[in-house]
Every structure is written in structure tokens, then in C-alpha cells.
Symmetry: C2
Subunit: 503 residues, 2 copies
């Protein structure tokens, strides 16, 4: 009965967070331009109401009773973990001063506006004052959250619990040499034909193709939908309503279809969380206050990258589905075959922009951002010195020097949104996707089915080993249960080697 | 400062109500079928959160202080009315037992399911038990709200404040003889050509035409949008985001375009409420707990009917715009002219179904429902006797006997949704639309512009006399300020006579 009372309160919190999510989705897909200001008020009120409900005396009382009720169960039982997540979130929010939340919320839209202006004018100095303020607030936020050795650790914990500056630097060090040598080998390969990438691929046909593949991957359109947006994203309002978007492109640059595969991966995770967890703390991030069933940003990204890169960019996939693609976009691919297409969509193309990067160069982009973020939050890098530090790192790591700030340190939206600590999760996702995919493919029947274009067994393996658990297990617990070990870079190095250094 | 504190609280209430509205809109236009159950939880939580925030000690304290602050201002000043609306709503909710709210909310989906089944099986007895329960709860609700002479008065007050069983019966009596005689005259007129109504009118072209006319009427698509739904509706999330829908039809039956004109009228009201009232009690129905700027259901309907019937079904309108319509749907109207089209869309066609009824027969449908509702709530009619009472009234008033319950007493969704007391507002809207339109057209420059297809002056007249005031003035105050008198049936009788009995 006590757990039931707690679930009633957390259920209402989840409802408010889902409602906020629906308003966010609507604002990016459907809302007329006039709605902006009111929508800001509405989302702020919902977040505040969710936080108040979570911290209410009713929730706290129910939590005390629920803790007593579940204490006899195993530590990793769903009920114990569910109750512990509520306790942890309540203690977390109790540490954050209301004034800090207000100042962060007020700064965000202002910082966003100056970031847009700075990017347009290719001038970092326009954004610098608001970025300085943002970093001051992020430091204060880190202090309020608490940390053992580095303030950036506190921010990392929001996105990838368990990671720290030290662990992330070790993780990078374990990958950097391999990335460099694979890159050298890849650059020695011959040129790839890409002339057809700019031909006509009508957006609506790309969406239909994306939907067909989404259904093949097991994404349930009866509990989801696929729309166009400028920036693709996935968002869930419980497992019963998980929506994805793709960008509207009339050519294959930018690759709208691979963006769709990516979001499908995120969507599969959310759609397949255990129904019993619906509206509970195992399907809500009660610290960051949004509805999500995935256990960490990195774990979530592992699913999007798995379906995008290990399935959707695999040679067997295009051997099977290229004919369908060619037919859907006739005559644009009439003089292309599966091999040529596969080469084009897996080619290495070093560039200045993270979101355009291939699998290999993507990680180099990530590492330099994480270093800069950690130094900024730690205080060893001043905001005014960002452009120089950025350009030096780009030249060193990618051999490219940005001609201006717009294509350099102003390219990502994260800092203007007050998002510090999330970049490393993209790379953790890459590594985790390879580790899970490699393990799944050791099952012969699953690998055989995969080779025939039957993705059901892979879907079921991931559901059983990852998705269904929602936020019950940590990322490393998920990995250990699925693969017998914690995060391991070797399968990822193997994957990149096979894709870029061989053949 | 005190009014400001009250506005902060009511602003948050309005945000929650708008959020709920967005979830409702989404559930009818975009939501995948799987989302139904979660969506129910989410909307219920938002409504409950809005009610709690309204009744919180913070709001009450701010209200006490705000009342003291505004007491020196005129009774009909916006500030006095705004504060009074909050007081009235708080006192209203304090009278409604939480248990009754819960029971009503729990019954609604069950009643809705049995209503759908009963309608499908053409068998009222399937719905009767849940309808009996609904009526018991509605009576308890009326008792909680309070009333002077008839329990139905309490329910009427929710939709059309100031009306009672006595006043509505008087209103009906003042119209019934005229409606009968106009109907007799109309039936004596010759047959109207309607063969072209069933030809191809592609839905997407209807939507585009609807949008063009919406913009001509002054509906701002930058603060709105027009989508397809099974049942058309208008909904607002502050004046900055007011959405309308139309039904998707591939012919002119059902008339999707006139439905769009209707919803545009509702939308114009909401888009033109004084910006100063945004997020206040003058743009929220704090009793029924939803975000709306119009002052009563009848007043709102007057605007939809005005643009649908007095503008959109007028002969001058089609003399001006028929060429555009003919071109948009070529070749379906190539052998039709404005006169023939106008005759077809204003023809009298008695039928069993309210929502298909023409202007004249519509009121007969309404009166019969209101009488049955009042008798049910008053206790002089038993649920089991509804089919007989319904069929007898239909035979008496419309000369038609329903072949079964599906086309009879099961046709409307209202009762299964726990909506009792709203039907009369459709007829009040008809009467009020004629009264306002007649007064507006006494201004020569406005009438001249109207004849030229320039609807700007009519738009501005309505904005100044009706829309901008939001919920500041009652319906009769709006009418008195705009037309010098309260609700008056004569202009409506004149309008129906001109349309149906003459020519």
C-alpha cells in the first residue's frame, strides 16, 4: 500500500513531465510562430509543478513508508531501485537552491538568442558574456550537486552517472591511438563516388522509406509517429507514445534517412521499457525532470548508434534493401549499386562540423569538446580563450582550422542551452553500441536472421538485455548482464577497423 | 503588488489549463492510438494540478490582498472583474466534493464506451445504466453548485451564466411560432438543385480554400493552424495559439468548408482577446477549468454562427467568391453558378441528425434536447423513457420518426461525456449572431465594405464590441454595449425569414 501511494505521487510527476514533453514536441513540429512566449510560460510551469509535487510532503511521507515496505527485497529488485531513485532525486533537488534554478531558466533564452546572433555574425565575442554567466551558474550548480574531485564530475553525473573527469580521460586515452591509426589507414584508401548523393531524393519519399525501415526494425507506429523537423529528435510520453523526427531533405546531403534510423534506435528503447514501469521512477529522470525510460544518455545513444551504424550502415543491410531504395527514388540511383551506395554512406570525410562527421571523425570532435568543457568548468580555461583553444585542438586532432567561430566553437547549441557534461555520452554510446552488437551477433540464429533482413531476433535480444529494464539497472549493470563486462573499447575499435582500415 | 501576486498564481493555473488543451488537441489530431491510456492520466493530472493551484493558500492569500487593492475601482473595470472571477471560481470549487469530481471523471470513459457500443448496436438499453449513473452524478453536481428553483439551472449556469429553465423556456416560446411559420413557408418553395454536391471536392483543396477564406476573415495563421479531424473544433492556448480543425471530406457532403468557417469564427474571438488579459482570469474559465477567452458558450457560438451563416452563407459572399471556389475544384462546379451554389448550401433539409441540420431545423433539434435534459435532471422523465419521449418530440416537431436509437436519442456525444446544460447555447448563439450582425450592418461603411468582400471593418467592429473584452463582460453586457439591449430574437427571425420564407 505504501509503494502504491508513492507510485500515485510519482505517477502524477511523470504525467506532468510527459505533458511538458508533448508541449516541447508540439513547439518543434506544429506550433505556430506566435505561440513561443506563452509556450515558455507553460513549460516552465509544468517543470515547476513536477518538482513541487516530487518534493511535496505527501511524496516524502509515501517515500518513507515505501522504503520500509521494500527493504526486505533484493537491492537490485525493481521495487528497491524504483524507491531509491525517488530518494536520490528528492535529496538531489533539496540541494539545489530555488534561486539558482530561476537564474538558469532566465539565462537560457537570453543566451540562446545571443548565441544565434553570434553564429550569424561569425563572432564569438557576442556570445562570450552570456557564456561566462552560464559557466558561473554551471559551477554554482556543480557546487550545489556536490563532487569529490572536479566540479565537472557533478555535471557528468547528470548525463552519465558514474563517470568523472578522470574516468573519461582514461576512456579517451584508451581510444585515441587506435582512432588515429585507423584514420591514417582510411585516408590511404581510394576516392569514393559521391556524385549521386546530391540528386533528387524527395523528402516525402525519404519519410516513407524511413517509416518502412522503422517498422522493419520493430518500431511500432501505433505507439509512435515520424515527422519532419529542422533537427531530428526522439521524445517519449510513456512507452505508449514515442515520437521521432527526421530532417526534411530533398537530397541525400544531409542524410535524413540515417537520421531517421538513429531516432528509431532511441524510439525502440523507449517503446520497449517494461510496461510495469510506466509512470514510475524507472521511466522518469526525476533529477533532470523529464520523462525517459533509458538508463543514461550514453546507453540511449548506444541504441541509436547501433541501429544507425551497425544495422543501417552495414553492407548486408544495403545488399538486401538497396533495391527498395533505388525503386523509391527512381531514377536517381539507377546507375548506382549496393556496393557503391554503401561506400558513399560510410566514407570518411573530415570536416569542421560535428553533426556532419562520419563515425570515425565524430569521436575526435567529441573529445576536444569534453576537454574544453572540463577546463572551463574547472577554471583552467577562460571563456575569452575558447576560440584559440578550439582552433588549436581542431588543427591538432583533425588537421583542419575553422575559418571562423561559426564553423568552430559556436557550432553547437549545447552551451547556450546550459547543457554541460553531455558530450562524452555520444562517444560512450558509440563504444557501447559496438559492444552490445558484437555480443548479440555471437548468437548464430540471430546473426543468420540479420543476414536475411530479419531484425526480429536482434530486436528481441536488445529488448531482453537492455530496453525492458528501463532505468532499473545502471549502464554498467546493463553491460555486465548483457556482455559479461563493463564498458570495453575493443569491439568498437574492431568495428572501426573493419569499416575503415580494411577492405 | 497584490494583484500581481494573484496574476502569478492564476497565470500558472492558466498555463496548466493551456497545457491540458494542447494535450487534448494533440490527442485528436496527432496522437498515435497507443497513447490513449497515458493521455487520460496526463490530462486528469493537469486538471487536478490546476484546481489545486487555484485553491491553494497562496492563491487565496493573494486574492484577499488583490480584492483590497482593487476595491476602489469601478465595479465593471477589468481588474475588479478579474479578481471577482477568481473569487467566484474558488467559492465554486470549494462547494464541489472531491469524491464527486473523482466519480464523474471515472464514469466518463466508461459511459463513453457503452454509448459507442449502444449506438453501434442501435440499442439505447446498453447505454441506459451508465446514463442513469451520469444523471445521478449530474444531480449531485447541481446540488453542490446550488440553485434557486430547478437543479438544471445549476448546470445551465456553467455554460450560459444567468440562464435558467424558466428563462430558456421563455426564450424558446418567443421563437417557436416564428420557426414553425417560416418552416411552412420554406417547404412550399421549389426543389433546389443539389446534384453537384456529391462530386469531387478533394479534401486538401477544401483545406486550402478554407485557409484562404480564414485569412480573408482576419484569422491569423501565424497564431493558429487548420488541421483535419473527424469532428471539427476550435481550441486556444492563449490568444497567441488558437487552432481550428475541419473534417476531411472528398465531397461537399458533409460540408467541410462551412465547418471551417464556423471554427474560424470561434478562432477570431480567441485570437482577439485583449493581450493584457493573457494568462488571467479574463481568459480562463476557472470553474470549468479550461483556457477560453469567450464570455459564455452562447457568446462563443454567436461568433462561429456569424461567420458561418451571416457571412459564409450570404449571397454577396458567394457572388464574390464563387469564381475562386469553382476554379479551386474544377471541373466539379463548371456547370454551376453562384446562385445555384448559394441555393444548395442554404436549402432546408429536415433530417434526423442535429449536426447535419440546416439553420432552421437546427433550433428544433436543440429545443427538444433541452426539454428532455431538464426533465431528466428535474426527475420528471426516467432514463428508460427517453427513446419514447425523443421519438414523440421528433415526430411532433420535425415530422420525422427515427427508425432506431442510433439516429435518435443516441446521436449526440454530450450525455456520455457528462455534459448537461450546453445544448441551449447553440440556439442562443444563433440569436445573438443575428443581433450583432444586424447592428454591425447598420454602419454604412461597414456594410459597403462587406459587399465588396472586405471583411476588415466587420472584423474590427466585432473585435471592438465583443472579442477584445474576453470574459470581462457577461454575454448580456456585451450585447447591451454593442446593440443597446439584451438578447433579442427579432433580428434572428428577420434573418430566417429573409433566407427561407422570402424569395
Amino acid at each position: 500500500m505504501s509503494l502504491e501511494a508513492l507510485r500515485r505521487e510519482v505517477g502524477a510527476v511523470n504525467d506532468l513531465l510527459c505533458a511538458s514533453g508533448i508541449l516541447v514536441w508540439d513547439s518543434r513540429t506544429m506550433m505556430p510562430p506566435g505561440g513561443v512566449e506563452s509556450r515558455g510560460h507553460q513549460i516552465a510551469t509544468l517543470t515547476e509543478a513536477a518538482r513541487e509535487r516530487l518534493l511535496s510532503s505527501m511524496t516524502r511521507k509515501a517515500l518513507d513508508a515505501a522504503e520500509a515496505e521494500v527493504q526486505g527485497r533484493p537491492e537490485d529488485s525493481a521495487e528497491r531501485r524504483e524507491v531509491a531513485a525517488v530518494r536520490e532525486a528528492i535529496e538531489f533537488h533539496a540541494r539545489i537552491p530555488a534561486d539558482l534554478i530561476r537564474r538558469k531558466a532566465e539565462l537560457r533564452p537570453k543566451a540562446n538568442v545571443t548565441w544565434i546572433e553570434a553564429r550569424k555574425k561569425n563572432d564569438f565575442s557576442i556570445f562570450a558574456p552570456h557564456l561566462s554567466e552560464t559557466i558561473d551558474l554551471q559551477r554554482a550548480y556543480a557546487d550545489a550537486i556536490g563532487y569529490a574531485s572536479h566540479p565537472y564530475d557533478a555535471l557528468l553525473s547528470l548525463y552519465e552517472p558514474g563517470e568523472s573527469v578522470t574516468s573519461i580521460r582514461g576512456f579517451f586515452d584508451s581510444l585515441r591511438p587506435a582512432l588515429r591509426s585507423i584514420r591514417t589507414a582510411a585516408e590511404a584508401r581510394g576516392a569514393v563516388r559521391t556524385d549521386f548523393m546530391g540528386r533528387a531524393f524527395p523528402a516525402e519519399a525519404q519519410r516513407r522509406f524511413g517509416e518502412r525501415i522503422a517498422e522493419r526494425f520493430g518500431y511500432d507506429l501505433g505507439r509512435g509517429r515520424l515527422d519532419f523537423t529542422v533537427h531530428p529528435f526522439e521524445i517519449s510520453f510513456t512507452r505508449s507514445d514515442v515520437r521521432i523526427t527526421m530532417c526534411r531533405a530533398e537530397t541525400f546531403e544531409p542524410p535524413a534517412i540515417f537520421g531517421a534510423f538513429h531516432e528509431v534506435g532511441h524510439g525502440l528503447y523507449e517503446q520497449n521499457v517494461d510496461p510495469a514501469y510506466t509512470r514510475t521512477a524507472l521511466a522518469s529522470d526525476l533529477k533532470q525532470l523529464y520523462a525517459v525510460g533509458g538508463t543514461s544518455f550514453g546507453a540511449h545513444e548506444s541504441q541509436s548508434r547501433l541501429w544507425e551504424n551497425h544495422v543501417g550502415r552495414s553492407r548486408p543491410f544495403w545488399d538486401l534493401h538497396f533495391a527498395d531504395l533505388r525503386q523509391a527514388f527512381a531514377p536517381s540511383l539507377d546507375d548506382v549499386d549496393a556496393e557503391a551506395f554503401h561506400r558513399a554512406v560510410t566514407r570518411v570525410r573530415p570536416g569542421l562540423i560535428r553533426t556532419d562527421a562520419d563515425e570515425l571523425n565524430y569521436d575526435l570532435h567529441i573529445m576536444l569538446r569534453v576537454e574544453i568543457e572540463a577546463d572551463l568548468i574547472g577554471g583552467s580555461l577562460d571563456v575569452g580563450d575558447i576560440p584559440e583553444a578550439w582552433n588549436a585542438a581542431m588543427t591538432r586532432d583533425l588537421g583542419l582550422t575553422p575559418p571562423g567561430d561559426a564553423d568552430g566553437c559556436l557550432q553547437d547549441i549545447h552551451w547556450s542551452s546550459g547543457m554541460f557534461g553531455s558530450f562524452c555520452t555520444y562517444m560512450i554510446g558509440n563504444v557501447m553500441s559496438a559492444q552490445l552488437f558484437e555480443t548479440a551477433m555471437t548468437e548464430n540464429a540471430l546473426a543468420d536472421a540479420f543476414g536475411r533482413g530479419d531484425y526480429g531476433p536482434l530486436h528481441d535480444w536488445l529488448k531482453s538485455h537492455v530496453w525492458q529494464h528501463g532505468r532499473r539497472f545502471t549502464r554498467d549493470e546493463v553491460l555486465a548482464r548483457a556482455t559479461g563486462r563493463g564498458l570495453d573499447v575493443e569491439p568498437y575499435i574492431g568495428h572501426l577497423t573493419a569499416r575503415y582500415a580494411e577492405a
